[in-house]
Symmetry: C2
Subunit: 304 residues, 2 copies
């Protein structure tokens, strides 16, 4: 099944309590694409970079199954750049620098060959840009998933609500679910958000796992306790890539399969945080992924 991924392709400077990495490859679309590439190929990319992006990295993305036809390369401009420092809990973080660069006037243009995509992952971006992508599809995809964040709830709520009407799966964290719905109880928040459009809500809780709300049903996926977290950057995007990649591979949108997809997404995210940048996402094999999924199953297994 054809998968289209939209989001940033960027450089990051990352400081964590245990180390740092400068000018490493980042961006939501990069994490989504690499995670999804273990399940489905090609992954059609819609993004924008400057002419400062290494050719090697682009070749590597292509070799791993990325279709770069929709990746705009702006001559004489610089790629999006983010610098951040994580606190001791590896969760909260300070943004040290944000340089929009090519992202400032990004206008996504879908190549003709992308317009029939059946699965669409709208990575965290300006809601109006997410909408622009949707509008260029020749028919409604089989599944549209959208990731967003509190920043857009604060600054572009109307645009976000407009695009949410066209979305099947929304992925946000617990505080964002509370903010978007105005409800503290996540059960009630899910009901309010279902009314906004998405029939499926995935609440990402980082080290506390994830909740899937699907049409009155709930599924709780744990996070795998890890001996060492190196860099949490991109974990949510990696989750999203694994989730939609698995759905695109299997073509099954039942609740039972969505639950499996949440587990595959969680497994991919658990790899992501074990190394800086996308490093670990380049080293996996289907066997390694399957072993980790089995660890998730073992972690929550009990008999009554």
């Amino acid at each position: 099944m054809s998968l289209l991924a939209v989001g940033t392709v960027a450089f990051d400077n990352i400081e964590t309590p245990t180390g740092r990495a400068d000018m490493v490859v980042g961006g939501a679309c990069t994490y989504i694409t690499l995670a999804a590439s273990y399940f489905v190929k090609p992954v059609r990319i819609v993004s924008v970079i400057g002419d400062d992006f290494p050719n090697d990295t682009l070749s590597e993305l292509k070799a791993r199954g990325a279709d770069l036809e929709g990746l705009q390369i702006k001559e004489g401009e610089k790629s999006f750049f983010w610098a951040g420092r994580y606190h001791n809990n590896f969760i909260s973080r300070d943004t040290l620098d944000t340089q929009l660069n090519v992202l400032a006037d990004f206008d996504p243009v879908l190549p003709e060959s992308y317009r029939n995509s059946e699965y669409l992952m709208l990575g965290n971006l300006v809601p109006a840009i997410q909408m622009r992508v949707l509008e260029q599809l020749e028919k409604r995809p089989k599944l549209v998933a959208l990731d967003t964040m509190n920043f857009w709830m604060d600054s572009a709520l109307d645009d976000l609500k407009a695009v949410l009407k066209k979305v099947d799966v929304l992925t946000i964290n617990d505080e964002e679910a509370r903010q978007l719905s105005g409800e503290h109880s996540l059960m009630k928040a899910a009901r309010v958000i279902h009314q906004m459009g998405p029939k499926n809500l995935i609440i990402k809780k980082g080290e506390h796992g994830a909740l899937l709300f699907h049409d009155g049903e709930i599924f709780f996926a744990p996070a795998l306790p890890l001996a060492e977290v190196v860099d949490p950057t991109g974990a949510g995007d990696t989750f999203a890539g694994g989730f939609i990649g698995y759905l695109a591979k299997t073509g099954d949108l039942s609740f039972a399969n969505m639950k499996r997809a949440v587990i595959y997404g969680s497994a991919m995210a658990s790899f992501c945080v074990e190394r800086f940048s996308v490093d670990h996402l380049k080293e996996l094999t289907p066997d390694i992924i399957q072993d980790r999924v089995k660890q998730f199953a073992k972690l929550v297994h009990f008999q009554i």
Copy 2:
């Protein structure tokens, strides 16, 4: 199997974002006893109250299976009192008032009939008092569980470490596990805490569930998403009561059965928070509890 529960029996004033309750029955020992009473009777209580405690409440505890022989009643004195106000997240809270009263010079004395107890739940209390109880047992119980909190890590760490050497199961929250071990990773924290004595560590994460670390193995129990949380007071004590009550009933200390005990504890805690004080813990039946345990099983079920 015989279960001994140690902790406070008290009055609480509780304010939450949605309501308040004044001079209601509280205390770790009360919650532990009521939760455990659904699994094993009698529950032998060691605690202290003043002469201000209603006879009705004592009769009710007795009718529900509490053995009150070890409950000291101090004439002319007042029971322990705590007043607190929860923040909007229902997790963090401010203590508005603490009156130790009878607790100030509490010296636990075990009745002769208690000294052969096979299961011991040391509720959150001064570590030296927890130790005093242990010292009066004629032989080591089959299982000793201990609940504590950051306050004792700050103020009585040596005493806490001394009692931990004699404990099989420690229940604390995630921040306390990090503080006690000096490790941020809960995997590493568990290893350090195993070295301190407890072969089993239960990390309570409130609405994020609980982790059981058992001799190199890990189990993750979810929390049940609830439409309405009314009062989180006593949830951890209720968890502990359900956990040890189930173990005392079944007499099976295997990892498989400890996992079940964590689920039963989590189920009891989920009832606790749905009403103020111990109200909901007085209304349950084995069928209601079993139905909720099935909801926990359904919540995490997936097939790969």
